[in-house]
């Protein structure tokens, strides 16, 4: 599903990422672990086709993503990748429902209100569909961010520190949400986190030290 070969990226002089090879399969759950500044977010950006590494190749679902033209890669990302950023970054000017419809629209998919409502229902936040993100609790916002990431049925689901600032129960709930949706669609789940509480939830762990894979 996701193949990395000879990957290297650095900011200024010091290398942040160095991975000789890595293979992730469909349905697998991966934890990218490491301290702050170890390159976790950078690696997710590379996987998402947002940051061209200085060296190496990344192949997702048989496509070498940095061989694609940028516009093609943008379209590919919309269809293939679901991304949950650390601070969620929901679009505050749009309602809960519109946040999902925007994800469909930007991915170039048919805007399907029924599908969006069904997803909100599955996440038990359908009654909030007309509300705006700033009116949601942290848990509700987390669920909306996951809904936005999975609404287009991505083959690769990426989440950056999804449990940061959450208590134990909320953290467990957030990971359960991601794993359930990844399992439901057969997506590869990659979660970047330094949160030791969730380590046991993942069958594969990729540890980054700031210099590379360990």
């Amino acid at each position: 599903m996701l193949v990395v070969e000879n990957l290297m990226h650095r900011y200024a002089a010091a290398p942040v990422l160095q991975i000789a090879n890595l293979r992730m399969k469909r349905n697998e759950r991966w934890l990218v672990a490491g301290a702050s500044g170890s390159g976790k977010t950078t690696l997710l950006a590379v996987f998402a086709g947002l940051l061209r590494p200085l060296q190496g190749t990344v192949t997702v679902a048989g496509k070498e993503i940095y061989a694609m033209a940028e516009s093609m890669r943008d379209a590919w990302r919309g269809r293939t990748v679901g991304y949950v950023p650390q601070r969620l970054h929901l679009i505050d000017s749009l309602s809960v429902l519109d946040n999902l419809l925007l994800a469909q629209y930007l991915a170039g998919k048919c805007v399907d209100r029924n599908q969006a409502k069904a997803l909100l229902r599955a996440l038990e936040i359908d009654e909030l569909s007309r509300r705006f993100p700033h009116e949601l609790s942290q848990g509700q916002a987390q669920r909306l961010a996951v809904a936005r990431a999975v609404i287009n049925g991505p083959a690769l689901l990426l989440a950056d520190e999804p449990t940061a600032a959450l208590d134990d129960i909320q953290a467990k709930g957030a990971i359960a949400l991601l794993t359930q949706h990844a399992a439901a669609t057969g997506a590869t789940l990659v979660v970047a986190s330094h949160d030791a509480r969730i380590r046991s939830e993942f069958e594969h762990v990729l540890s980054l030290s700031g210099k590379g894979r360990t």
Partner: protein, 426 residues
């Protein structure tokens, strides 16, 4: 869901800023549109009113005043001229048509013009009801006069002394309305037209009954109708002239027999007679040059308003970009390309500029209509409020172009946004 709805949602997110920017742009666009419409309508109106009049012959004085009084019925005439001299001119082979007019009185601010039936046909006016005058003190009303006064055929009214509202009424010599004209879109719509004899008769009677001292102090008129609202020129020779049998008129409207007349007739009149000849085309152009300077200054200020509002949009977008960089980054992760986020910023600016432009166009037209409804003299200008003109396309382009320019820098920042770095910031 599309980029437009996202742009609108951003505009709604900060309603006060959005409202202020839209209001500023609306005012700027409305001012420019109003000035464009006014100058266009004024130009057309001046051309319409002067059509078929090659020369105006009147008393010596300011040629512009002569044109303003005789063609556009806006100013007071410089004085009177002897009918004998006018009749000599009428026989000049260089003249195809000569129409005398005598001014002096008004009715509710509408001028009463003593003239010949040819005056009516010159403006292409047709009777909506009644007939033309056949005897002294019979009057035909222009369409606008009839509309505003509610006078009908058979009705009576007294003319007021002078050319503006407030003069003493000739209550003992009332006019009888015998006809009402269809609208023509020319100055005749705002005139009360009667025979020259009516003017002579009223002022003959007026002078007979007026004490000499009062006559000297009055607002300014004479038996033949020369009038000065400001109280200045009253033709004091007038009574003597009449006593000696020399009738007077205020001026004559002349149409050349051939284009060659333009070269010789004005000079001939100015040099060889006591009369003054003035060309409406030349004086109107001069007038526009004077007006043009003023309107250019106002247009400049209006343009400043447009620039200021575009600057406001620019500042709002730049500030919004700081807060919105995460939105842009997330949109990129959702599949939006650089061009799309660039387009989103442009669109947001265009939504504001478009709203300001549309409202400005509507307000400009509404203001012109209001001016026309409020001021009788501006009624023909208000005609433009109902039409759209090609010049307005330039206003639209300027406003929208300003909106695009205002968005270029923020849009470029959105285009160049380093998504990975932004997301890693948190």
């Amino acid at each position: 869901m599309n980029l437009g709805s996202v742009a609108l949602s951003y505009a709604r997110r900060s309603p006060l800023t959005t409202l202020l920017n839209v209001i500023m742009l609306t005012l700027g666009v409305a001012t420019i549109v109003l000035l464009l419409l006014l100058s266009r309508q004024l130009d057309e109106s001046l051309q319409r009113d002067a059509r078929g009049i090659d020369l105006v012959v009147g008393a010596k004085g300011s040629p512009l005043q002569l044109i303003l009084a005789g063609v556009y019925h806006l100013d007071v005439p410089p004085g009177n001229i002897a009918l004998d001299e006018v009749e000599k001119l009428r026989a000049n082979p260089l003249i195809a048509q000569l129409i005398t007019i005598s001014l002096g009185d008004s009715y509710r601010g509408f001028r009463i013009v003593g003239t010949e039936p040819a005056f009516v046909s010159h403006y292409g006016a047709e009777l909506a009801s009644g007939r033309l005058w056949q005897a002294p003190l019979e009057a035909v009303l222009g369409a606008e006069v009839a509309r505003r006064s509610s006078l009908a055929v058979g009705g009576q009214f007294a003319g007021s002394h002078g050319l503006s509202v407030g003069g003493a009424e000739h209550a003992d010599e009332p006019y009888r309305v015998v006809g009402i004209l269809h609208p023509t879109g020319t100055v005749i719509d705002r005139l009360v037209v009667t025979g020259t004899e009516s003017v002579w008769k009223i002022h003959e009677h007026h002078h007979q009954h007026e004490p000499a001292s009062a006559a000297n102090a009055k607002q300014g008129t004479n038996a033949t109708g020369a009038t000065d609202n400001s109280g200045a020129p009253h033709d004091d020779d007038d009574d003597d002239s009449k006593a000696s049998g020399h009738k007077q008129v205020t001026m004559a409207l002349v149409r050349y027999a051939s284009p060659l007349a333009a070269a010789s007739l004005p000079r001939q009149i100015n040099d060889e007679t006591s009369l003054q000849a003035a060309s409406p085309a030349y004086e109107s152009a001069r007038l526009f040059t004077i007006f043009g300077f003023g309107t250019d200054i106002i247009k400049g200020f209006a343009l400043l308003l447009v620039v200021a509002s575009c600057l406001g949009i620019f500042i709002a977008l730049i500030q919004a970009m700081d807060a919105r960089q995460y939105d842009i980054a997330v949109m990129r992760t959702l599949g939006a390309g650089r061009r799309r986020v660039f387009a989103l910023m442009l669109l947001e600016s265009l939504v504001l500029a478009g709203a300001g432009t549309v409202l400005g166009l509507l307000l400009g037209h509404a203001m012109l209509a209001a001016i026309g409804a409020w001021l009788p003299a501006a009624a023909p200008l208000a005609e433009g409020a109902r039409h759209w003109f090609p010049e307005e396309l330039f206003v639209i382009l300027i406003a929208l172009g300003g909106g695009v320019l205002a968005a270029l820098v923020p849009a470029w920042r959105a285009y160049r946004l380093d998504v990975a770095a932004t997301l890693s910031k948190g």
